[in-house]
């Protein structure tokens, strides 16, 4: 028994060595840093990989990083030595920060097909999908959801909502900016009024949506206007719907960009262009559960036509967000405490 134990220990160590010694990258490979769920088996990653590899004669290598904020972290840490050719999945709010690193370069992409609720000005970032933040509600628990942010803020305190923390999550930051865009300097008072209705503030979207909301803990959760599209198309249920708010909804735009130091400039550029081609764009609605950033006509799943149509798309300038975010988070913290 003892010798068997020793044997297994040495086998394990041997295995470890083998992994450590795995070879590095092959030639003509495009390395794309993205967030985790993008590359998951039912996410957009595999579809886009197959389609792009068919036309590029190269290998597309996705590196999954645990959140979209972590993607930027990673390239900042790696600096000029980064393995990444392309970063994919940065949030519009992080664009100014990303640009400031000086690690990115112009995409050279033809963005004429891009149709966003706002005009697009950046030469560096290619917007590949978008959605609006919205409160998703359970129709079985709440027949008549609030019709405006104001109505939610002034609703009776027994209407409970679950939100995410702006310090740790993109939707959480989105809601903070949404309140700011609508109420400006009064945001702090609004948060104080909202406070008793907030059941809890989670670290990320998954805990809020899966662990709590779908478990029936609260009738409303902060998510996206596109979320019901998934439930209708894949789960075949209309139980979960987004509440349309009169003030308009805050926009989230997901972008990709090319790294300046990438040795595969041409390949990277063609990938960025491919991201807004009809083929790639058509895959996004049901895999990434967001609107494509271009008009894909009939390829948009019919369930998406049943989604709410925000009366107005709210978006604060990315430079303002970069400069004010910390102060606004402190304001939010103080109001909530």
């Amino acid at each position: 028994m003892i010798s068997r134990f020793r044997h297994s220990v040495s086998l394990c160590l041997l295995g470890l060595l083998c992994i450590v010694a795995l070879p590095g990258h092959a030639a003509n490979t495009l390395t794309v840093y993205t967030y985790d769920s993008f590359t998951s088996e039912w996410g957009p990653g595999p579809v886009i990989k197959t389609a792009f590899e068919k036309e590029c004669d190269c290998t597309l290598n996705f590196v999954a990083i645990d959140s979209s904020a972590a993607i930027l972290n990673r390239v900042q840490l790696e600096g000029d030595a980064s393995k990444a050719d392309v970063v994919l999945g940065l949030d519009y709010n992080l664009m100014a920060l990303a640009e400031d690193t000086g690690l990115l370069t112009e995409s050279g992409a033809d963005l004429s097909a891009v149709q966003l609720p706002v005009d697009w000005a950046s030469d560096i970032f290619v917007p590949f999908d978008y959605g609006h933040f919205a409160f998703v509600y359970d129709t079985e628990m709440l027949a008549e959801p609030p019709t405006s942010l104001d109505e939610l803020v002034n609703a009776p305190d027994d209407l409970k909502i679950i939100i995410q923390d702006p310090r740790t999550s993109t939707p959480g930051l989105g809601l903070m900016l949404w309140v700011k865009a609508v109420y400006g300097d009064d945001a702090s008072d609004v948060w104080k009024k909202l406070q008793p209705k907030i059941l809890t503030v989670t670290k990320g979207w998954s805990e809020a949506y899966f662990s709590l909301f779908l478990n029936g803990e609260a009738p409303m959760v902060l998510s996206y206007d596109t979320s019901p599209g998934y439930h209708m198309a894949i789960d075949k249920t209309e139980q979960y719907q987004a509440a349309a708010f009169d003030e308009g909804h805050y926009l989230q735009i997901e972008v990709a960009a090319l790294l300046k130091n990438s040795p595969n400039q041409e390949l990277g550029k063609s990938f960025l262009q491919f991201l807004i081609s009809k083929e790639a764009q058509s895959a996004l609605p049901l895999t990434n559960v967001m609107y494509p950033s271009t008009d894909i006509g009939d390829a948009l799943p019919e369930e998406f036509s049943k989604l709410i149509k925000p009366s107005k798309s709210l978006l604060l300038d990315t430079n303002t967000v970069r400069d004010e975010r910390k102060a606004w988070i402190d304001e939010w913290l103080n109001a909530a405490n």
Binding site: M1, I2, F5, V9, C12, G15, L16, I19, V20, A21, L22, P23, G24, D36, S37, T39, S40, E41, W42, N61, V63, A64, I65, D66, S67, A69, L77, E78, G79, A81, K83, K160, D165, R167, T168, L173, Q195, I198, V201, T202, K203, G204, W205, S206, E207, A208, F210, S211, L212, L214, N215, G216, A218, Y230, N288, V289, D330, L333, A336, N337
Partner: protein, 540 residues
């Protein structure tokens, strides 16, 4: 003389283990400190917001640890007094699983039972009792106790099961009642483990943050770890992150040092051999024992049942047979086994040296501190560890190609505190009982380990391996640090599926992870622990 030559090398295993530990924890932190331009931990301490955060982290961790340990004592006692009832073994093994469940799945299970629309509220609603809400300190404590009570119970149960039959026989001859037995037999046996278990749980809760946020009810419920995460992930503010990390490190290290002042030497056993059959007299109220066991079982099992129920859905078969799922099971098992071997090797190394220091050289506290060093990894926020290692390695090695190796190493270190807790008692006992035999017989080195230590520690060793393997199997933080295209593990798969709305698939993956861990646990215990009987007779 052969004795001196072996004693001359007593420090080697410990130094080796400490070196690995320092390389993976202290060095990355140092790298971060060097890259930061203005590290000012004092600013953290003077900031009123952070003072509140530190106070809350401390308060909830203290409460969680006190509750977990205080509740574990009667439950372990009940389980030890009731050696025979159907399902006891399975129950004890299930008790080791709660630590493994990824937090966001555990939150799902806890909320399914205790939430506003959970089973318990439905149930008490039948009697017209108003529903209660867990959001706030209650929820945090509930979740932390759910994670840590079973662990504490198992570790304490292990020390109770090590009480020699002779002590119990003597107690019945002396006509001791249940409370006297507790005072003179059970309490001294458990006391040796209490401080260690307490510190372990305290540290785990101090740094917990997904749970604290999800069930805490608002930003008031926040730990230092949240601020560190924010500083590194969203602000890329190395200065703030390092300052906060240093404060957290200092705070927890101070507590660790303090805990070393509580002397908790193992009691001297006499003629101790692990009996084939544990003799436990019938004492106290048996109905109370069974009531305690039943309540604890419900508390631990109900959330797991909530999880299993959600795992059975239209996608179950598709998910179980999916290529990625099967690959992930193999990757998870591989990582778990390698990390477990490394962790146990390092644990034994540290303990052998610290044992020598404590028992033979009389430097009791020094030995204990060395052992407490094994806890450092728990105080290091994963995001600090990852960033530091990156800074350290980016110019030296291709982080991508060694990512899996690093993740395994970090996993093995994360399990080290548990391994130390489990093996400390048995190894100390082995030394105290047998040092004289050894000196007279001149058994040293490997033969000593094989003939004397191994039979005594074999059972706890199996437990330690099982715990460290399942911990590594369930861990997400280490493997997610470096990018994950090489090794898709079950927790990672679960996380990805969850993030992409695939909730049915995620729930099934979570249940599969749980079952994989349970099987791994049972097999490791059976193989390593084996039957103790045969070896016992060899020297009895």
């Amino acid at each position: 003389m052969p004795l001196t030559s072996s004693i001359g090398r007593w420090w080697m295993p410990g130094v080796l283990a400490l070196t690995v530990l320092a390389l993976i924890t202290v060095l990355p932190l140092a790298a971060l400190v060097l890259s930061a331009t203005n590290v000012a931990p004092q600013d953290v301490l003077t900031n009123s917001h952070f003072r509140r955060v530190i106070w809350f982290s401390f308060y909830q961790a203290l409460m969680s640890a006190c509750l977990s340990v205080a509740l574990a004592i009667p439950i372990a006692q009940a389980l030890s007094r009731e050696q025979r009832f159907p399902g006891r073994k399975l129950l004890i093994n299930l008790f080791s699983l709660s630590l493994v469940i990824p937090t966001l799945v555990a939150i799902f299970g806890i909320v399914a039972v205790f939430g506003r629309t959970g089973w318990l509220n439905d149930f008490i609603g039948l009697f017209g009792i108003k529903p209660f809400s867990i959001y706030g300190l209650v929820g945090i404590l509930l979740a932390h106790v759910f994670f840590n009570l079973p662990l504490a119970t198992r570790i304490l149960l292990q020390s109770l099961d090590n009480i020699p039959n002779e002590q119990w026989r003597l107690s019945t001859q002396l006509r001791m009642n249940a409370s006297a037995q507790f005072r003179f037999i059970e309490w001294p046996a458990m006391r040796t483990q209490l401080v260690g278990v307490f510190m372990l749980i305290f540290t785990l809760c101090f740094t917990s943050f997904t749970i604290v946020m999800a069930l805490g009810g608002g930003p008031r419920a926040t730990t230092v770890e949240v601020a560190i995460y924010q500083a590194l992930r969203f602000d890329f503010d190395l200065d703030a992150a390092v300052s906060l990390a240093i404060v957290q490190l200092l705070f927890c290290s101070a507590l660790l040092l303090l805990s070393a002042f509580f002397k908790h030497e193992a009691p001297l056993g006499f003629g101790h051999r692990i009996p084939d059959q544990l003799f436990r007299p019938v004492s106290g109220y048996r109905w109370l024992n069974f009531l305690l066991i039943a309540v604890a079982t419900l508390f631990v099992i109900m959330p797991l049942i909530g999880l299993i129920i959600s795992a059975i859905n239209p996608s179950t078969i598709k998910v179980l047979l999916h290529d990625n799922t099967i690959k992930a099971v193999f990757n998870t098992l591989f990582i778990a086994l390698v990390a477990s071997c490394l962790s146990v090797l390092m644990g034994i190394g540290l303990l052998l040296s610290s044992r020598h220091l404590r028992i033979r050289l009389g430097h009791y506290r020094l030995g204990q501190w060395i052992q407490h060093a094994g806890n450092i990894i728990l105080v290091m926020p994963p995001v600090v560890l990852g960033t530091g290692l990156f800074l350290l390695l980016r110019n030296v090695a291709d982080v991508f190609s060694i990512a899996l190796g690093l993740a395994i190493l970090i996993n093995s270190l994360m399990a080290l505190p548990f391994v130390l807790r489990i093996l400390d008692g048995p190894l100390m006992q082995a030394a105290e009982q047998q040092d004289r035999v050894i000196q007279s017989l001149g058994i040293i080195g490997w033969s000593r380990w094989r003939l004397l230590d191994w039979p005594l520690v074999r059972k706890p060793l199996g437990f330690a391996m099982a715990i460290s393997a399942t911990l590594a199997a369930g861990d997400l933080s280490a493997i997610a640090l470096f990018g994950s295209e090489r090794a898709m593990t079950l927790p990672l798969l679960l996380f990805q599926r969850m993030g992409g709305y695939r909730f049915h698939e995620a729930a099934t993956t979570a249940a599969l992870l749980l079952i994989t861990c349970l099987i791994l646990f049972l097999i490791l215990q059976a193989v390593v622990s084996g039957t103790v009987k045969r070896y016992n007779h060899a020297y009895a």
